[in-house]
């Protein structure tokens, strides 16, 4: 791996304190395990012996983990050369990973509370290629100063100054008032459910589940069933709201969005675990204005980056590319424009509405989805018990208006347009997304038309791209207009395959 060009750079090691971190983390685990073990053993061998055994076990465990990490530390070296970044690691199976510096797209710094106390960060260097795990290089941990130096060095490239009045430095900071949007997210009911489930689970562990249920039943003995349900749902909701607020504070505390000289966008945030995510502007292909239903009704929106080379980890993907948390819509528009260095955000451009046939399709789909459970209940009700007929009626009364409202809203959301260097597509009701994708970033087209769409004169046009979700679709456009849109968006690509102005079936 060592080329002549790189021989000048020196090999470095991870930070020494990694051994301490591992020892402390293991100690935490050991204490967690030792307490129940001690309790169990003290019954048979007496208290002193039990504590002795537990201590010995804990010391052995911590010692092994620390020794193992020490060996890992001894065997791990990295080097930032002029051309490449190398990482050598492993005891028996020596792994050598080497990334070309010009392919590096992102450098993310993360520090959980323990790392922060010790002044360390863990660094992920990503190239954003789709080929499995070989595209990221993880240095866990290095000192905070070294992390900053790596981030600066690896992303700092002599970029020609982009014309435009857009500023460097701070683009957005946290406004604590945004916290009012946190409980509106879909996480709230989920967190509430999780809280209820958590109480049951923990009480089951300590063998007190029955008592908990009895206690709740006792409290609510004299209340009618309906109120019981309302109270329990209310309690779960309150727990969910508290959870959502707490989660928001932990995720977004100290949030800052900055443009650094050299053309890098950087998001910093986090209360306990601090995160620093950097995206090279060269890799930015657009922005996605995301409005989940609750947040949209409150007049707010979130801004996600559409960029190549962002980490593709499934579990972290959700917030990894968010440039701005849910904030007032006007601010979201401003930030989107700032990020793209445009005078006005392309996501705010007037959009071409889709034909009325698209509305019919959405209404029909909604009716099928709403009527299916109703019909099943009616069928079972006729066959088995009339109670189900009443629940079917209840379902129909609740589900039908909701489904129709969502369908009409989904139709209103549909739209597409070309705005300057961007193509804009909007769709969705429960999660409305307005994506502005740079036309130069389009690397292919997929046109789909089902038999139903064909009869209604509709089709769906998808622009594929290397960035973000990989594909952005204008659903149910007018057949001719959609193709014209795609042909105009990327001149020359679709044109040779189109037939214009011919009639006849």
């Amino acid at each position: 791996m060592s080329t002549a060009a790189d021989s000048g750079a020196d090999w470095r090691r991870l930070h020494r304190r990694t051994v301490l971190v591992t020892a402390l983390v293991t100690a935490g685990v050991a204490v967690g395990a030792a307490v129940p073990v001690t309790v169990a053993l003290s019954g048979r061998f007496g208290y002193a012996t039990a504590v002795g055994w537990a201590l010995a076990g804990a010391v052995l465990l911590i010692g092994c983990a620390a020794a193992g990490d020490h060996v890992r530390w001894r065997r791990t070296r990295y080097r930032v050369g002029a051309e490449r970044v190398d990482l050598h690691t492993g005891l028996l199976l020596v792994k050598r990973r080497s990334l070309a510096r010009e392919r590096i797209r992102s450098v993310d710094l993360t520090a959980h509370p323990l790392l922060r106390i010790l002044g360390l960060v863990s660094v992920r260097i990503g190239t954003g290629e789709h080929t499995g795990g070989d595209s990221t290089l993880e240095l866990d941990p290095v000192s905070r100063a070294e992390g900053e130096r790596l981030r600066r060095d690896l992303l700092d490239r002599a970029v020609a100054d982009v014309p435009g009045t857009h500023r460097d430095g701070q683009l957005a900071t946290l406004d604590p008032r945004w916290i009012r949007y946190a409980p509106l997210s879909f996480a709230t009911p989920l967190l509430g459910g999780a809280a209820a489930g958590g109480v049951m689970q923990v009480s089951d562990w300590v063998g007190a589940q029955a008592e908990v249920i009895h206690w709740i039943a006792d409290r609510l003995r004299d209340t009618p069933l309906v109120w019981t349900i309302v109270v329990l749902a209310g309690a779960a909701l309150v727990a969910g709201v508290i959870g959502a607020l707490g989660l928001w504070i932990e995720m977004w505390w100290n949030y800052r969005l900055e443009r650094e000289p050299g053309g890098t966008l950087r998001v910093r945030r986090g209360l306990f675990t601090s995160r620093s995510l950097s995206v090279e502007e060269r890799r930015l292909r657009g922005v996605d204005l995301v409005e989940p239903l609750g947040i949209r009704l409150a007049g707010a929106a979130r801004v996600d980056a559409i960029a190549t080379g962002l980490t593709k980890d499934e579990e972290r993907a959700a917030d990894h590319n968010t440039l701005l948390p849910a904030a007032p819509r006007a601010l979201a528009d401003t930030i989107a424009a700032e990020v793209l260095r445009e005078p006005a955000t392309p996501t705010g451009a007037p959009l071409t509405a889709h034909p009325r046939a698209a509305r019919g399709r959405r209404l029909r789909r909604a009716l099928v989805a709403a009527l299916a459970p109703v019909l099943i209940q009616v069928l079972l009700g006729v066959l088995l018990t009339p109670v189900l007929l009443w629940t079917a009626l209840g379902c129909a009364v609740v589900l039908l208006p909701v489904a129709v409202a969502l369908a009409l809203d989904a139709y209103r959301s549909l739209g597409h347009a070309l705005s300057g260097a961007y193509l804009v597509t909007r769709s969705g009701s429960v999660r409305r997304s307005t994506a502005a994708l740079e036309r130069a970033g389009v690397i292919g087209w997929t046109v789909k038309q089902s038999w139903f769409q064909s009869r209604a004169g509709l089709l769906s046009v998808t622009a594929t791209t290397a960035a973000g979700g990989g594909a952005y679709t204008a659903h149910d456009t007018d057949a001719s207009e959609g193709l014209a849109f795609a042909a105009d968006a990327v001149p020359g690509l679709l044109e040779p395959f189109l037939e214009r102005g011919r009639s006849g079936r």
Binding site: I443, G444, T446, T464, L493
Partner: protein, 167 residues
């Protein structure tokens, strides 16, 4: 299939798959149907009380599968088309859900030729063209071995000659 004056539509790509692709698709359908039908049939043979409830769906599945095996490959043979120009790869597939895919030469990252066991039997191959998008892969099915090799070779040559950043 839009009609009327002043409309725009996609023209079909120029090249058809090899005639043997019909047989290959048919065998795929038959195998796909045979697996559940066989399971249901065997269970029906073994479990006497539930025989009716096992053999009826097996018969329905078999009939449906046979019908699909007869009709769909013929339909697909009429709609599956492909074309390679100096600028782009253009493929159309599907019967009930039509799909047209276009990938420009400058964005092509890899060209793979695959011959599955069934395809081997029919002397066919599939050429898959991928771009940097996770969702933009273009598959050209039902080519003869010679045509596939020639096409892959040609695509590789054109993509090498076409400069471009894949991301």
């Amino acid at each position: 299939m839009t009609t009327g004056e002043g409309t725009i539509r996609l023209r079909p790509p120029r090249n058809a798959p090899d005639r043997r692709a019909v047989g290959w698709w048919r065998v795929q359908w038959l195998l796909l149907t045979a697996a559940p039908v066989a399971v249901l049939g065997i269970l029906g043979g073994l479990i006497a009380p539930a025989r009716f409830w096992l053999l009826t769906p097996a018969a329905v599945l078999a009939a449906g599968g046979l019908l699909c095996a007869v009709l769909f490959p013929l339909w697909w043979f009429r709609t599956h088309r492909w074309e390679v120009t100096d600028e782009a790869v253009y493929v159309s597939t599907g019967a009930f859900l039509r799909e047209w895919r276009i990938a420009p030469m400058s964005r092509i990252q890899t060209v793979d030729t695959v011959r599955g066991p069934l395809e081997q039997l029919f002397g066919l191959a599939t050429v898959t063209v991928t771009t940097a998008s996770a969702k933009g892969a273009v598959e050209i099915e039902g080519l003869t071995h010679e045509a596939a090799a020639e096409l892959a070779e040609r695509l590789t040559r054109i993509t090498q000659d076409t400069p471009g950043d894949a991301t």
